[in-house]
């Protein structure tokens, strides 16, 4: 077994354009804020004493949630827009090539790499196939789910005359049964996103160290660099 | 041979004309009754059937025991609350939770208000039309009615001739409109109605007054439980916190004053309207003494209304407790709800199955497995039953027995037991009524006795409400404002396997809930409800229950207008949703 890191010369590739990078970090922070405040909405802080008018704890928690939610939604809309106008990598998480055999072979290879069965990962300009798959099925649809259910819940507060209620609550609430069910699923899928984030951050750190290419740096600078010049077989 | 004698001493003869009443109306829930009437128009065989089942005992399995009160409360919205109270008591018994004194007083006030409300609505809106003929009221002279009113109840304000004339006009126009509403197709030409027009008019007037007033009685439950019907309860106490010196608590001085005013008005209504009507109407029917059934033989009461909190021993229960069997009125037995050999339920004639149907099951080991099948001799089809076969399964009600005896429960049972025990108030009330009506003590064991006991009991309950309100206020005065004990509210503090039993005296009689809790969830939950006792079908020995017994030997004027059957059945205030749950 040898994965020798040898000196090499290879061009760096510009992968993540600035809007994608910006979005990534804004989105990441919004999600962290949403998870923390969301958690607290279901399980609030211990009670405070004194006049109700002197406090606004739940109010702020919910306000941060909604503010982050709007940032997240605007960001998401921008990211979708960028998928149309940006480079090909900007489309990757929206359109994993699941109809191509090679893609699935890549997924298997990546799984084997994580299972310590194959000695070496492949090099990818964009996401590796496993990452792309998870980005698509877990993250992307998770986001869509959270936005839809979030708006449905939000519409309950803004009331039956609001656009949020008309476009979202009016059909999403009965679809799930009742409001309580929407809350439950909104919360459950938060945990799925948390699982995604744990895996994602761990993989990013690990691959940054163990794979043959740059990772975290890429999401900061946009440039992908490789640690060797061998070709994948 | 079409005549058999049941072990509890009734002879059943199925040779006469079979008459079917389905639905039996002016009751809660769905019920069917079939009788055989001989050539003298006497009922010689009676079959009573519960015709609904929802499966609450099945639904409760696996649930959080703290929620059980809400489920069981939905067993019935007429006796709403009594199941909830029974349920929280069962859970508290299982988990050994003691409730604060204030919670005991508040629960008692709520329970007493239910008794009164239920009895009053039963008397005027479910039972009255068996005795009172609204059409006949049109013939009344309002002036004479006013005189009658002033005679039977001098302190009731609404008694002027003009008042009765207005009501009469209202009824006349109603009748003349041709849209008779709830009075449509009544048996208004039946000679079984005996009241003179003036008494009919007075009674119909009070039908309407009581309809207005009943909604006031229950508002004490709105104060303590947040809404009526189906107020809220809590394992460990009551949900309504008390705070006399700060803002925000559910119970403060204004709320207590409200409760007091309602309790006082309730007491007055009973005294000025309910009791006088009972005596007036009863006076005209006092020779109609059918319907005793098993009331002079076997009666049962668990007792209720604990004076001090957490003490459910007979001495501390202000409503009488005990069992009388074999007609030995002087001997009141103690009842043990935990003894596997005392209370058991049988199903050979019920639409359920047991592994061995020759045996009964104590509710802690009770089973509820539906099994709808019709006997070989039923007439009709499965979905269009013409006549049931009572030799097979024929009811959704199980057959509970106490030491093998079919028992009557309810206000009359409580009053008979209390009378036998020499309960001071009960004895005085009963003797007073017997004297006023000039009837012997045996008259108690009848349809009218049941109806009378209910009225007397309401009177007692109204006094007790005020007693507990004073007690509550005194306790608060002494600095105790606790309403809930939450020490064991958290399921993680519970032992892994426990069982408990809770009981109340519901308006219709003895009510018990038996619970088994395993790993914080309900493992088994069984209810035996007053109408399960009274409306029970036959058991493994062939003993008939209270409804069927009460119908026997009653003479009906017109077989096709079964008002006498309704009278006897209504005197129990049947609740079918309760009975089958």
């Amino acid at each position: 077994m040898s994965t020798k890191i040898t000196a090499h010369k290879e061009e760096a590739h510009y992968i993540y354009e600035a809007p994608v990078r910006l979005w990534h970090w804004v989105n990441a922070f919004a999600i962290v804020a949403l998870c923390i405040t969301g958690y607290l909405i279901g399980k609030p802080f211990p009670s405070v004493q004194g006049e109700a008018s002197d406090h606004y704890i739940m109010g702020y928690v919910r306000w941060i949630h909604f503010a982050s939610a709007y940032i997240l939604m605007v960001g998401f809309a921008g990211r979708v827009y960028w998928a149309f106008v940006g480079n090909k990598h900007a489309r990757q998480i929206f359109l994993p090539p699941i109809h191509k055999l090679g893609f699935w072979q890549g997924v298997v290879h990546e799984l084997l790499w994580y299972a310590f069965i194959v000695p070496e990962p492949k090099k990818y300009e964009g996401h590796n196939p496993l990452a792309a798959l998870i980005m698509y099925f877990v993250f992307l649809w998770g986001m869509v789910f959270m936005i839809l259910t979030g708006l449905a819940l939000y519409g309950e507060g803004t009331g039956m005359d609001s656009w949020q209620f008309d476009y979202f609550s009016s059909w999403i609430i009965p679809l799930f049964g009742q409001s309580q069910d929407v809350h439950t699923w909104h919360r459950l899928v938060m945990w799925i996103l948390i699982c995604f984030a744990i895996t994602h951050i761990y993989a990013a750190l690990r691959e940054d160290i163990m794979s043959r290419q740059s990772l975290i740096g890429t999401m900061i600078s946009g440039w992908r660099t490789f640690k060797d010049s061998r070709k994948d077989d | 041979m079409s005549t058999v004698t049941t072990p509890n001493g009734f002879s059943l003869d199925t040779s006469g004309q079979r008459v079917v009443i389905d639905p039996v109306t002016r009751i809660e829930g769905h019920m069917r009754c079939e009788v055989n009437i001989d050539s003298d128009n006497i009922i010689r065989n009676a079959v009573s059937t519960g015709t609904m089942w929802r499966g609450l005992e099945v639904i409760l399995k696996g649930r959080d025991p703290r929620d059980a009160w809400a489920f069981t409360q939905r067993i019935c919205g007429v006796c709403t609350g009594t199941h909830a109270l029974t349920s929280v008591r069962a859970v508290e018994d299982a988990l050994k939770i003691e409730i604060p004194d204030n919670a005991n007083s508040i629960r008692n006030i709520m329970q007493l208000s239910l008794q009164i409300h239920d009895h009053l609505v039963h008397f005027y809106h479910l039972h009255a039309l068996d005795w009172v003929n609204p059409v006949n009221a049109l013939k009344a002279d309002p002036k004479a009615t006013s005189e009658l009113q002033m005679k039977v109840s001098p302190s009731h304000a609404k008694s002027s001739p003009g008042y009765f004339r207005d009501v009469q006009t209202r009824i006349r126009k109603f009748v003349e409109s041709g849209q008779l509403g709830p009075f449509k197709n009544g048996y208004w030409t039946n000679p079984a109605y005996l009241l003179p027009p003036e008494a009919d008019l007075m009674a119909v007037t009070h039908y309407l007054e009581a309809l207005d007033f009943q909604k006031e009685i229950m508002t004490v439950r709105t104060i303590f439980g947040g809404k009526d019907t189906h107020p809220n309860w809590l394992v460990g106490g009551v949900p309504c916190a008390i705070n006399m010196d700060g803002a925000g608590a559910p119970i403060n001085m204004e709320r207590l004053n409200y409760v007091r005013s309602i309790c006082e008005r309730t007491k007055k209504f009973i005294k000025d309207v309910y009791i006088p009507d009972l005596i007036a109407i009863g006076g005209f029917y006092k020779h109609w003494l059918y319907g005793g059934g098993i009331s002079n033989q076997s009666v049962l009461s668990y007792g209720d209304i604990p004076d001090r909190a957490n003490d459910y021993s007979p001495a501390n229960l202000m409503m009488p407790r005990g069992a009388i069997i074999n007609g030995k009125l002087e001997e009141v037995h103690e009842v043990d709800l935990r003894d596997p050999n005392e209370i058991q339920e049988f199903v050979p004639h019920s639409w359920y199955s047991y592994p061995d149907e020759a045996k009964g099951l104590h509710p802690w080991d009770g089973l509820t497995e539906p099994n709808f099948e019709l006997g070989a001799n039923f007439k009709g089809t499965k979905t269009n039953i013409k006549e049931l076969d009572e030799s097979a399964k024929y009811s959704w009600i199980k057959a509970p027995r106490w030491k093998g005896h079919a028992m009557e429960v309810g206000p009359l049972a409580r009053y008979i037991i209390g009378y036998s025990q020499g309960h001071e108030v009960i004895t005085e009330q009963v003797n007073g009524l017997l004297k006023t009506l000039d009837v012997p003590v045996d008259a108690l064991f009848s349809t009218l006795g049941r109806t009378a006991a209910r009225a007397l009991e309401s009177e007692w309950c109204a006094d007790m409400q005020l007693y507990f309100l004073d007690k509550l206020i005194n306790n608060i005065k002494n600095g105790d404002t606790a309403t809930a004990n939450t020490q064991s509210f958290d399921p993680s503090t519970w032992p892994s396997e426990v069982k408990g039993v809770g009981f109340t005296e519901a308006p219709r009689g003895a009510l018990g809930h038996w619970i088994r809790i395993k790993d914080t969830k309900i493992e088994n939950y069984q209810c035996i409800v007053p109408t399960t006792w009274n409306g029970s079908p036959r058991d493994n020995q062939g003993n008939i229950g209270a409804f069927e017994a009460a119908l026997l030997n009653t003479k009906v004027e017109r077989a096709e207008e079964p008002v006498e059957i309704l009278r006897n059945l209504h005197s129990f205030d049947p609740c079918l949703a309760c009975s089958t749950h």
């Binding site: 279901g42 009670s47 004493q49 406090h55 606004y56 704890i57 739940m58 109010g59 039956m160 059909w171 009742q178 409001s179 309580q180 809350h183 439950t184 699923w185 919360r187 945990w191 799925i192 744990i198 163990m210 | 389905d22 639905p23 109306t25 809660e28 015709t51 089942w53 099945v58 696996g62 489920f71 067993i75 919205g77 007429v78 479910l126 039309l129 207005d166 126009k173 109603f174 409109s177 509403g181 709830p182 197709n185 048996y187 207005d212 909604k215 508002t219 104060i223 809404k227 009526d228 019907t229 809590l234 106490g237 309504c240 705070n243 608590a249 559910p250 539906p370 979905t383 039953i385 509210f489």
Partner: protein, 358 residues
């Protein structure tokens, strides 16, 4: 000849003055301004009494009990003066065949012109024989009357959603009215609640009679005037919610100060009903005011969401019953643990490789 409300009321000795007062109360109960009172008065002076058949399926009769608690209008006046309650087995004088005959008579006389009020629901298992009326399954009576009715009112959570008998495992297959297969395609007004508020029940009837049309319904068939807001939106304890002041357990300091009941399980934030605005029994109180959390009694399937005393509801399936945090927290712990183990394994491997390389 049909009579109008007003005629009937006048005959009953009600003065014009108190009739008008009644009309303005009715307007207020409907959430309408005082300018509507004359309109109601006019409607009542000119309209006949409409027949109502009130059927009972599997239920607890609490909806009926609630109905008779109505303070404005009084149940007495609804029954005697507004509608013609031709069939209601809880209060009708007739029994057995005479009672059942009324249904047929009403259908013949008022085909397409009577209101069918349904309390409870039909069970569909065992050919419907978990609820028998006149020897036949209740569902037959229901379908037959629905066929000829003008509109259906589904009283309470039983008729609207299924309620307690439809709670898991719904042994009788109790089915809410709108989901009964083969039920005539008639307009259905759901008035959910276990039971619904008395004055809401009578207001729905009064609205139909007064304005000669069905009230505006939301996407789920509930009158918007009473069901378009959650308890939480109008709850008087809401300032404590926003402040973060909660009852942590019953009878604590917070309970005695009227703090928000969210942490002891209040379902007000997910429950559409008028309790917080109309309140109960003539506006006297409502569950939260008496210190108990809302249990969500007007919502579909409120029985099956886990304990009434927990804020988070339970999820059922795959033999588990747990709330979102129990499921999600466990999943996150497993994922986090797996990542940690994987990280450790990766480190070991790396060190081993370095050793190889040396």
């Amino acid at each position: 000849m049909h009579e109008t409300f007003y005629e009937v009321m006048r005959r009953q000795g009600i003065t014009r003055r108190s009739f008008l007062k009644y009309c303005s109360l009715a307007a207020a109960a409907l959430g309408l301004g005082p300018s509507f009172a004359p309109k109601i008065a006019h409607a009542m002076e000119t309209k006949p009494r409409i027949p109502v058949l009130w059927l009972h399926g599997l239920e607890c009769t609490c909806c009926s009990e609630s109905f008779i608690r109505s303070a404005h209008p009084l149940a007495k006046d609804v029954i005697l003066s507004m509608i013609s309650l031709d069939y209601d087995d809880t209060i009708m004088a007739a029994a057995g065949d005479q009672a059942e005959a009324i249904i047929q008579e009403t259908i013949e006389k008022y085909d397409g012109n009577f209101i069918l009020a349904v309390e409870g629901n039909p069970p569909l298992n065992e050919d419907g024989m978990y609820c028998i009326i006149n020897g036949k399954p209740f569902v037959e009576q229901l379908k037959h009357t629905a066929e000829h009715a003008k509109a259906i009112i589904s009283w309470g959570s039983c008729a609207s959603w299924g309620c307690v008998q439809a709670a898991r495992p719904n042994p009788t297959r109790a089915t809410p009215v709108h989901k009964v297969p083969g039920l005539a395609n008639k307009p259905i007004i759901k008035v959910p609640g276990c039971p619904p508020i008395s004055e809401v029940m009578t207001a729905v009837i009064t609205y139909i009679l007064t304005f000669e049309k069905l009230p505006a319904l939301d996407s789920q068939g509930r009158p918007k005037m009473f069901y378009s807001q959650r308890i939480h939106d109008k709850c008087y304890r809401r300032p404590h919610f926003d402040a973060g002041q909660f009852v942590e357990e019953f009878d604590d300091e917070g309970a005695r100060k009227g703090y928000c009941l969210y942490k002891v399980g209040c379902k007000g934030p997910t429950t559409y009903n008028a309790c917080a605005s109309t309140r109960w029994n003539g506006g006297l109180s409502f569950p939260i005011q008496a210190g108990h959390p809302c249990i969500g009694c007007s919502e579909d399937g409120f029985w099956d969401k886990g304990s009434f005393y927990e804020r988070l509801s339970n999820v059922h399936g795959f033999g588990i019953e747990a709330d979102a945090d129990e499921i999600g927290g466990t999943a996150a712990a497993v994922v986090g643990g797996a990542a940690a183990i994987h990280a450790a394994a990766s480190t070991v491997k790396r060190i081993a490789q370095k050793g190889d390389d040396a």
